[in-house]
Symmetry: C2
Subunit: 339 residues, 2 copies
DNA sequence: TTGTAGGCGTTATCAC
DNA sequence: GTGATAACGCCTACAA
């Protein structure tokens, strides 16, 4: 009850000092400026009154809200919860909170969310929604706000970023299939206007090349989104081309769609067709068969992205950092020796 | 570039009016107070300068941040992303944003998060973490901030809430097993200090009672958390008691643990043992076998909770509302006629 | 070491 | 209908 109303002035009065002195005593940064005995009186008074600084007033004055905007495609994609938690945990440790925005892959919506977040004076942005060519990004950066990319990057490395080494990951997946004796490998590529989709596709091509295998055009399809539905559609297309013994998918969602297409076609995985995904998203190991996929530390993507942003927020100078987390092939039951 | 610096004063100057007038013209609420021609001039000036009101300054003055604190156990639990999205979407439509906090079921942590959110002057709280006896809640409510419970409730209906009719849902699940001819039904109860765990357990008892079946003590186990690990442990315990043909679980996570225990015991679901869950969480239909479970509209839990909070924020008077969403049994392949 | 004063950008309450 | 003024709570030169 003796709450909300307690302000710096109240603390100062109780401690018998001027509000300015109380302010200095309360702030660890400026505390050295004030007499030790005085500052102890202030702290005691503050504790007694249950004083809590008004973050809004402070922000108005300091022009920092200790708030960051985070844009992701969709929280319902199981890949993101662990990433977001990593982000929030690391931000929290530094005194920041995240505002989460879901773009649903809609750039108009994305633009609107960015506007709103800027209206709320976020101190910076973490974007998991980068397109290779990203018009609205210009405005954001132009406004001088720190930006970090995560999971996806734009076309160059002009912004700090945290991603997986997608090309290598895709090569690992495809090489695994090759090692199992597969010679006609299909590929479901993700959207080619985002880095994950494009880079993994390149990894597929590189691995096929290295194995001396021909990439058959009719066994490669392009999904318009990383969704189960698109995975289903693309898989059907590959199956109708005929003759393939394994399918690599641009991510786990596409692989799940692939499972459904195999089911509908009366085919068994891995007996008839091997399938490999990418992401190792939560619960993907509970599918039947458990999916072979390329893993990376989701939580760490979040913590590292937060870290990069915090460094910028702290004004740390230095070159733009691009972090590449190492992918790891997780072999489960969806891939087998070609029969 | 001609950005951040543009303030109300600038707009006023360009429009040739006093800042106070510009403020009135810009705010739809107060616009009627100002001459139409004048207000047009102001709006034009604002548009020309790319004016965006400073939310922080406004908050300091109006004492409203249009921010709400949302506490959930863990975003990694697949149940929550859709709920959170519903919440955010509805809040967004009303001009609010959510601050998400994960408590990990730790009440110390919860307390800390609540403190932080209050320091940020959130306008209200939505809690998905209620315990039946909830000490810290007192403080929160005491401070006069609106609170809404979602998914779980506390011991009485003194706060607005949105939940599923858990008892009915559990009865539906158990009755389904009874209808399939099962006579020795095991139950993995969730934690009894939260409403979902307790109420569903009561539903189980009620259904058994209605069916004239005895509840065998050795076939009922209590999980200390809604986790896969606890589901595994409890299922093993039930299996070692022997003689049961079906297991109902307090939620889907527990049911997943149950699947693993059956696997390890070399038992087949549903041939040897039928399993039914609760929640119909995302991707649960991709398990093998697809899980029979009790569904409810996740997204709507979020939108309704947001709605209840917004009503309070708007000062709408009236009785405390407790919304119960209807559960629905989703019959899949994990339950079968007793053999 | 502490007090003074001004202002961050808005909005509410007066007058006119 | 509009302008002047003060205040929201805090921070920070600058002065003492």
């Amino acid at each position: 009850m003796p709450d909300q109303a307690v302000t710096l002035k109240d603390v100062a009065r109780l401690a018998g000092v001027h509000p300015a002195t109380a302010s200095r005593a309360l702030n660890p940064e400026t505390r050295p400026l004030v007499n030790e005995e005085t500052s102890r009186r202030v702290l005691t008074a503050a504790a007694e009154l249950g004083y809590r600084p008004n973050a809004v007033a402070r922000s108005l004055r300091t022009r920092r809200t200790h708030t960051v905007g985070v844009l992701i495609p969709d929280l319902n994609n199981p890949l993101f919860p662990p990433i977001v938690r990593g982000l929030e945990d690391r931000l929290d440790a530094a005194g920041y909170v995240a505002l989460i925005g879901n773009t649903d892959g809609d750039s108009t919506r994305e633009q609107r969310i960015i506007e709103q977040m800027r209206a709320r004076n976020v101190d910076g942005f973490v974007l998991a929604t980068a397109h290779l060519r990203n018009p609205q990004l210009g405005h954001t950066a132009e406004a001088g706000l720190p930006v970090v990319f995560m999971n996806r990057i734009a076309e160059d490395y002009s912004f700090p970023s945290v991603t997986v080494d997608n090309e290598r990951g895709a090569r690992m997946a495809v090489s695994h299939l090759v090692a199992l004796g597969h010679e006609r490998i299909g590929y479901i590529a993700g959207p080619q206007d985002v880095s994950t989709g494009l880079t993994r596709y390149r990894g597929f091509q590189a691995a096929m090349d290295a194995a001396g295998q021909e990439v058959r055009g009719d066994l490669v399809t392009f999904a318009s989104s990383f969704s189960i539905g698109e995975g289903y559609r693309c898989a059907q297309q590959i199956l109708s081309a005929g003759g393939c013994t394994a399918i690599a998918a641009g991510n786990d969602m596409l692989a799940v769609g692939c499972y459904e297409a195999l089911d509908d076609a009366g085919l068994s995985c891995p007996r008839d067709i091997s399938v490999v995904g990418f992401n190792n998203m939560p619960f993907i190991d509970m599918l039947r068969p458990p999916l072979t996929t390329v893993a990376f530390p989701h939580y760490e993507v979040g913590t590292q992205a937060a870290q990069l942003l915090i460094e910028q927020l702290n004004g740390d100078e230095g070159p733009v950092k691009a972090l590449f987390l190492a992918p790891e092939l997780i072999t489960r039951r969806s891939t087998a020796q070609v029969s």
